[in-house]
């Protein structure tokens, strides 16, 4: 049996999902498109012990006319369910009923969860659930997903799901909703609370921007500190003390040399494994994804999930809208940009929340060019902070990417044809994130990272080895020297990193380590690696999402922007550093 979870955005749908399902949750792609949904399983309380599949569908407001690709997918998936569990925000009943009535009209068996029941109580709203159930003719269960209140009843009533008995004229849907509300809901005006004041302060222009700057800075600090701590105290020692002896033992079986030895274990320095430079599949190939990158990815997703679940992101969208509007996109594009910092692939996927092709193109292109993924960034942090450079390198890197993002956006907005919409976004009240839901989300993202990253990293290291062994890197280096050395001011050997960067950016950054470049070259190489081309996984996703022609256009923009930025940076930094 398939149960679909449907509801408006911000009604606590994913918390309901976490409550209902066990740990066995997977994110998967909807066949035919690349839109992700989440799927899990639950036991139904019956003698047969039947297991139902639960699918969490992206939030939608209406079935009338899908305004984005995400809504379109939600509509298509509606056809496949046996039962719809409609999650309605009890504090915004009227808006929720708009979707409910549209579902009723399709004669799908329905159960309604009146979620956020406690919050409704606190804000002075009381709903007569029994009367609502009689009126609509489908089970209506009050729930509070974060505490679990009402879930026993909800689960036990899933079997009572049925098409409703409420009939109305669709041209007068709001009229019908108004009548239902009048019969079932009563409201006492509530007092302004501290939370409301904080909510107002964070979108008022005067206090909002400083708050946003502080939130982003603290997020950055947490990610960096937590990432570094995990590496220094957990992962590095694990590799140095436990894994290195194993590898050395293996190395001795090969008498420390030979092609197989060099590919598997890599080149030893003074008889020791150097996890950053040995470049064997089992040394650097495992060290990069597990020890150097994963701690940052983990810390990043923890912070991002918190920003998402607390309700801060929509406020950031409102504050950033002004600037983004001038780049031909709008505040909603903050989500793809933030997700891109985790990994560019989900960043590209989430551009489907934008309404028009033009917005999707600009968002994806800007994100891929100027947002480095956490895997790459983790390696860059290590690279730029080696020696006495401190924060200088990172600061210049971020400033450069921000300028590129703005200037390129302004240009794209002037030159790309088509239509862009304006921001239109619900801003939920601040909520304390539900820890179990947060943990589940974090876990899914971590699993996804390992499944996705490790094969690519290993492949990257393997191909890098092959290219070196056969002298191909050397050949390419000579070929590309005029551009790489002449324009960008990088050593010829950096071509190796740029080549592998097509495959996997963190490995590419790792290849820069043994080149012993100066700070100017390190910065330029990091900027160029971020901008010039997406990694293979992102590239494939871009083709699927934008189409081949648009991807080709986007790639040309990337290359041009990289050469100009890298060249300018070379000139400026020569004078400044």
């Amino acid at each position: 049996m398939k149960i679909l979870l449907i509801g408006n955005p911000n009604v606590g749908k994913s918390v309901v999902f976490s409550r209902l399902t066990g740990t066995n949750v997977i994110a998967s792609n909807y066949p035919g498109t690349t839109v992700e949904f989440t799927k899990g399983y639950m036991h139904l309380p019956s003698d047969s012990g039947e297991i139902a599949e639960i699918i969490d569908i992206p939030g939608i407001y209406t079935l009338d006319e899908p305004s984005s690709k995400a809504e379109q997918v939600a509509l298509e998936m509606l056809e496949q369910g046996d039962i719809v569990l409609n999650v309605v925000n009890a504090t915004a009943l009227e808006r929720g009923l708009n979707l409910t009535l549209q579902l009723l009209q399709r004669n799908i068996p329905l159960v309604i969860a009146l979620n956020m029941w406690d919050e409704a109580g606190h804000t002075g709203i009381s709903i007569d659930a029994e009367k609502l159930e009689q009126t609509l003719g489908v089970p209506c269960v009050p729930t509070t997903a974060v505490t679990g209140q009402g879930f026993k009843e909800l689960v036990s009533r899933i079997k009572d799901a049925k098409p409703g008995t409420f009939s109305f004229n669709d041209d007068e849907r709001w009229q019908a909703i108004g009548n239902i509300i009048e019969k079932t809901e009563s409201i006492i005006r509530h007092q302004h609370t501290f939370r409301d004041k904080l909510a107002d302060a964070s979108i008022s222009p005067v206090s909002g921007l400083p708050i946003a700057a502080a939130v982003l800075y603290v997020s950055f600090l947490i990610i960096r500190t937590a990432g570094e701590a995990l590496i220094t105290y957990v992962f590095s020692p694990l590799f140095e003390h436990l894994w290195a002896p194993v590898l050395l033992k293996m190395s001795s079986w090969f008498q420390g040399r030979g092609i197989i030895h060099d590919i598997l274990i890599g080149r030893l320095s003074n008889g020791e494994i150097d996890f950053e430079q040995s470049f064997g599949l089992l040394s650097t190939g495992l060290y990069v994804p597990v020890a150097a990158v994963f701690p940052y990815v983990c810390a990043f997703y923890l912070v991002l999930s918190f920003l998402e679940d607390s309700g801060y992101l929509p406020r950031l969208a409102v504050l950033a809208d002004n600037l983004m509007h001038r780049l031909g996109i709008h505040g909603n594009a903050i989500l793809p940009m933030m997700l891109g910092f985790g990994c560019n692939v989900p960043g590209v996927l989430s551009t489907r929340i934008m309404e028009t092709d033009r917005e999707r193109f600009i968002t994806a292109t800007l994100m891929v060019i100027s947002v480095p993924c956490m895997a790459q960034l983790g390696m860059i942090v290590g690279l730029l902070q080696s020696g006495q450079h401190g924060m200088t390198g990172l600061t210049i890197l971020f400033a450069t990417l921000l300028i590129v993002w703005i200037v390129l956006g302004l240009i794209l907005n002037k030159t790309i044809k088509g239509e862009s919409m304006e921001i239109f976004l619900e801003i939920p009240p601040y909520r304390i994130p539900y820890i179990r839901g947060l943990a589940k989300k974090l876990w899914m993202r971590i699993v996804w990272f390992f499944k996705d990253a490790i094969p690519w990293v290993i492949a990257g290291v393997f191909i890098a080895n092959i290219l070196y062994v056969f002298g191909i890197i050397n050949f390419l280096g000579t070929l590309a020297a005029p551009v790489v050395s002449g324009v960008l001011g990088l050593p010829k050997d950096a071509v190796g990193a740029l080549t592998i960067g097509f495959l996997r950016k963190d490995v590419a950054v790792g290849m820069l380590v043994p080149l012993h470049m100066n700070l100017r070259q390190l910065i330029i190489a990091s900027v160029v690696l971020t901008m010039y081309f997406p990694c293979a996984a992102t590239f494939a996703t871009l083709i699927r999402e934008l189409g081949l022609k648009a991807m080709f256009k986007s790639a040309l923009i990337m290359l041009a922007a990289t050469l100009i930025t890298g060249g300018l940076l070379n000139l400026v930094l020569k004078l400044a550093l």
């Binding site: 407001y61 209406t62 009338d64 006319e65 305004s67 504090t91 915004a92 009227e94 808006r95 708009n98 804000t123 709203i125 709001w174 909510a199 107002d200 979108i203 008022s204 222009p205 929509p314 969208a317 409102v318 504050l319 809208d321 002004n322 509007h325 709008h330 505040g331 919409m421 304006e422 921001i423 239109f424 976004l425 619900e426 801003i427 939920p428 009240p429």
Partner: protein, 79 residues
């Protein structure tokens, strides 16, 4: 009757009409913004930025262009 963009911060009003195409009307309608509803302006970002309003006890950010097409009858300012 004034456009939403000219309404003072914190003021209440009732939406009288929305001058826009079908698509814009549908979009606004999905979040409950339609003629006859009472609305409160929470904030407005500088330089023709988005307007944040409260409607049905929830807050919604509306782009400046759209907001300037929403005509409102002010109904007092309780603050």
């Amino acid at each position: 009757m004034i456009p939403l963009t000219q309404m003072p911060k914190g003021a209440f009003g009732i939406i009288v009409q929305i001058a826009g195409g079908r698509r814009m009307l549908l979009r606004l309608d999905s979040l409950g913004i339609r003629p006859g509803k009472s609305i409160r302006k929470i904030s407005q970002q500088a330089l023709r930025g988005p307007v944040v309003v409260e409607i049905d006890r929830t807050q919604v950010a509306v782009g400046f262009g759209m907001a300037s097409h929403i005509m409102v009858q002010p109904s007092g300012n309780p603050d």
